[in-house]
């Protein structure tokens, strides 16, 4: 069934169908079928996105014209004067309320060292986990970050609910004025822990800043933060 030839033919058929969809020549029932498929078929999404990008220079043919001045107010009224839609409650990582509750300002961070059983309130041993609480001034939400030097595991736990589908949270290390260095992308489900790459572990120390940004699903495509920073805090501040 899935001979290479069949596959190639399916692929070619999909290329044409996606091209027809992007050109816009399909009749409505076919358009709707394509849109239905786009919701779940990642490979097909990519074929369509590629056509969109390939044909994007045709967009230059559209002459820009200012819409009437009343129009923006009308959009705002339709969007914000209506009762807020109920947000489905779900995992913290996929609930919109969480993201909407966070402000974009850099947050004050409360950092403390959690000592192991006997060492409470003592200067921590080198192996004690580092704990940072990253929160936002205008929000009841914060992220508790726990870094275990021995295993290299850094765990972030949101302490109040909320997140947004098809986005990922990416953790960054900022040393002084240097550009942020990516530490990893949090999985969109699970307990919010990621393993810090071994060569980065020693760089997590007092005085450096940890930040979490909102990125396209799977993490920043550029290696630098592209989305807003939703939380940040300094270790040992």
């Amino acid at each position: 069934m899935t001979t290479p030839e069949n596959k190639r033919s399916d692929r070619s058929r999909d290329e044409v169908l996606a091209g027809e969809y992007v050109l816009g020549v399909l009749p409505l029932p076919d358009r709707l079928r394509v849109e239905h498929r786009l919701r779940t078929d990642k490979a097909f999404q990519e074929i369509v996105a590629r056509w969109q990008e390939n044909l994007a220079s045709f967009n230059d043919d559209y002459a820009a014209e200012a819409p009437p001045s009343w129009l923006y107010a009308s959009v705002e009224k339709k969007l914000f004067n209506t009762a807020a839609a109920d947000q489905p409650k779900g995992l913290i990582w996929s609930s919109l309320a969480f993201w909407r509750g966070l402000t974009l300002v850099t947050m004050s961070a409360a950092i403390f060292f959690a000592a192991s059983a006997g060492g409470l309130f003592h200067k921590p041993a080198a192996t004690a986990p580092l704990v940072a609480t990253m929160g936002s001034a205008n929000s009841s939400i914060s992220l508790v970050t726990l870094f275990d030097r021995q295993t290299g595991r850094l765990k972030v736990t949101p302490v109040a609910a909320g997140a947004e589908k098809s986005k990922s949270l990416e953790l960054w290390l900022i040393e002084g004025d240097s550009a942020p260095v990516p530490l990893g992308v949090f999985p969109d489900a699970g307990d919010g822990s990621i393993v810090i790459p071994p060569d980065m572990r020693n760089r997590l120390k007092d005085g450096v800043t940890l930040a979490v940004s909102l990125e396209p699903f799977g993490g920043s495509p550029t290696g630098k933060p592209t989305g807003p920073v939703v939380a940040s805090g300094k270790i040992g501040a």
């Binding site: 044409v16 050109l23 358009r31 990008e53 009437p68 705002e76 969007l79």
Partner: protein
């Protein structure tokens, strides 16, 4: 120019990311920056000012609601916004036409096996579409472009070019295959 465009795209991407976080100021800024272009799309495709005004409002409502779905790795932000606008205008165009026309037109799904030129090989390097368009016969290139820009359906294109519907369908499908091959080359 390219550097300006890049900066512009980066700013639009930043605004979309903030709109995803329900930032109304960013939404207003995004509207300021892009509404002229998107209104231009609606005017051209719908050929009716009142329809275009309605469409552009609905488009920005979609942008607000779907900003979180934008993925930078799936294309540039302006391309994404144009796609939302064009798709919305296309749906409006198709919906306001009569059902009988749609029935006539609802064709079989593409079967490119009919053509010999079907060895699309995926490569990351794409060629400029304009170069590839020049390799198509002029009337076919015109049909491709007006399909995209005006939102014309197969039936409308067939009428415009004075060819049977099936001929137009074959023209465009073969043109798409040629374009894909050319850009992958």
């Amino acid at each position: 120019m390219a550097a300006n465009d890049d900066r512009d795209e980066a700013e639009v991407a930043r605004l979309i990311a903030r709109v995803a976080l329900a930032d109304r100021k960013a939404f207003a800024a995004l509207y300021q920056r892009t509404s002229r272009k998107l209104f231009g799309v609606c005017l051209r495709m719908l050929q009716d000012r009142a329809d275009a005004e309605e469409a552009v409002q609905e488009i920005f409502i979609k942008v607000w609601n779907n900003a979180g779905a934008y993925r930078a790795d799936m294309g540039r932000p302006m391309t994404w916004l144009f796609a939302i606008a064009r798709n919305h205008a296309l749906d409006m165009r198709r919906r306001r036409r009569q059902a009988s026309v749609e029935l006539d037109e609802a064709g079989e799904i593409a079967d490119p096996q009919a053509g010999p030129e079907e060895t699309a090989v995926m490569t990351s390097e794409g060629r400029r579409i304009e170069d590839c368009m020049q390799q198509l016969e002029k009337d076919r290139a015109d049909a491709v472009r007006s399909a995209y820009v005006e939102g014309l359906s197969y039936l409308e294109l067939a009428g415009l070019h004075g060819v049977p519907l099936n001929t137009m369908r074959t023209w465009l499908r073969r043109s798409l295959i040629k374009l894909r091959e050319c850009m992958d080359r």
